[in-house]
Amino acid sequence: MYKETKSSKAVKWFLIGVSVLFVVLMLLLPLITVITEAFKQGFAVYEKAVTDNYTVKAFWLTLEATALAVVINTVFGLSAAWSLTKFHFRGKKILTTLIDLPVTVSPIIAGLIFLLTFGRQSPIFPLLQDWDVKIVFAVPGIVLATIFVTFPFISRELIPVLEARGNDEEEAAALMGAKGFTIFRKITFPHIKWAFLYGVVLCAARAMGEFGAVSVISGHLRGKTNTLPLHVEILFNEFQYVPAFAVASILVLLAIFILIARSLIEYNGKKKNKVEP
């Protein structure tokens, strides 16, 4: 960079000022609000809200849905990435587009389509009833909706990394007779480790916070189909502001944890890339 002039310095600090103001007002202040509101009536009230039976149940349901979404999307993401980057076949472009589709669908619509597929007006509803399977207004529906909204999160982190690398190493290993799983574990996975973790973190973040889609499909049965975000909504709408923010603070904590994990993964991934030729 060449020399800074006086006016360019003024521009610099003006832009930094605007940016900092924006970040503080738009991002930091809401975060602080959650914490201050949560502790408005002291720690005892906070503790009571957080350890409330419904809150604990909602917490475990959120964790369950998140874990399942991560697992399914991991299986899907690894399979899709392998299939799409290691082989040429017809329909590959369409497949790629279809995988990305869910993120463009409004969460409300994401919930709605599962309502239509498995709900009372669905052609397969009688069948589900015969088998005694409840999907809508039950945990499976919540899990399905959560998987849907986070669908491409892992595969889209993996595919560019694999694509950029080419298939030489895998071909070399296959030529020597290595089996598919060995190739994946020993050759491919070390390359995508950080991208994969990154995808998992993004997936988990979105999954635990998903609100719209889950809201449509859950039926809001307290203690049964209530996730943490839904529980926050119910408390807030009942004007129980302090408990609402107390529960929200759990989610804030998880969000901060995720942001830190994300930074660490990104940092490690970058460092690793430098070692490579």
């Binding site: 006016s7 991002l27 609000t33 399979s79 497949l95 296959a174 993004l202 926050v232």
Partner: protein, 277 residues
């Protein structure tokens, strides 16, 4: 699906099979049910549903607020990206990490926090109330929530472009005697525009469908602060699945068109990124 050329790398059948199976169950069949459901209805019914005044006005509110919010984000996103790439200042890393907050923080939490902040009794809302400006429960409030949701899209789209921008390029122009502002407008700006447009499109698409952060701050007054996802939700609560589905379908088409346009810009963009630098 058939491979056009046999590959030595194993696992084609397995991974493609898993990919297609999960894709079908989670995405294709549910999305298809939306189309199947609307196919039962006559065109007149569909037109009658979406031309109801309340529905039309919700589309207007949705598009206007999403557009304004994305415009604000396009400008602020470029400023933030510029500041984060070109300058160094204290706490820069922290601010860079904070940008990701809207991805990590559950939308419902953001929603209640922003509502509390911008209500007349809140920190920010109270300040504006002195001048007779209301934020929460108005379209301004919706816009605020959407700015929160959309900001990372623009920043993360512009940042890599600025990082790739060869400093030698700017320096060369500097040596040739071009003034700073001239360099910016003639050389840097044209490079940023496509990236900013991409970010704008992504943010716009996300904002159109956003529910969680908006539902609290909107106040949901019909004809004023009712956005499309909200009207779908209220139709569902009245068990009017036909209306909900019809509106959803129109909405879906709108977001696909947005995505398509974004993809067009992005393709052009990557070509420039790969070819240029």
């Amino acid at each position: 699906m058939k491979r056009t050329n046999r590959s030595v790398i194993p696992g084609f059948g397995l991974t493609t099979g898993i990919t297609l199976a999960i894709l079908s169950i989670v995405v294709l069949i549910p999305l298809a049910s939306l189309v199947v459901f609307t196919a039962h209805m006559s065109l007149d019914e569909i037109v009658a549903t979406i031309t109801r005044d309340r529905v039309l006005s919700s589309f207007r509110v949705s598009f206007v607020t999403a557009f304004v919010a994305s415009l604000i984000n396009a400008v602020m996103g470029v400023v933030l990206a510029w500041v984060l790439v070109k300058y160094s200042f204290p706490l820069k890393r922290l601010i860079d990490g904070m940008i990701e907050l809207p991805f990590a923080l559950p939308t419902a939490v953001a929603g209640i926090a922003l509502t509390t902040l911008t209500a007349d009794t809140g920190l920010v809302g109270g300040f504006f109330a002195k001048f007779g400006v209301k934020i929460a429960f108005t379209q301004a409030g919706i816009t605020v929530a959407l700015v929160f949701i959309g900001i990372p899209f623009v920043v993360r789209a512009v940042q890599p472009v600025l990082e790739k921008l060869d400093p030698a390029y700017e320096e060369a122009a500097g040596v040739l005697g071009a003034s700073r502002s001239r360099i910016f407008w003639k050389i840097v700006f044209p490079e940023i525009v496509p990236a900013a447009l991409t970010g704008f499109g992504l943010a716009f698409g996300r904002c159109l469908g956003e529910y969680g952060s908006v539902v609290f701050i909107a106040g949901n007054k019909p004809f004023e602060t009712e956005i499309v996802p909200l009207i779908i939700m209220s139709e569902l609560q009245e068990y009017d699945y036909a209306s909900a589905t019809t509106i959803a379908l129109v909405m879906l088409v709108a977001s696909f068109v947005t995505l398509f346009l974004v993809n067009l810009i992005q393709t052009r963009n990557t070509r420039i990124l790969k070819g240029g630098a």
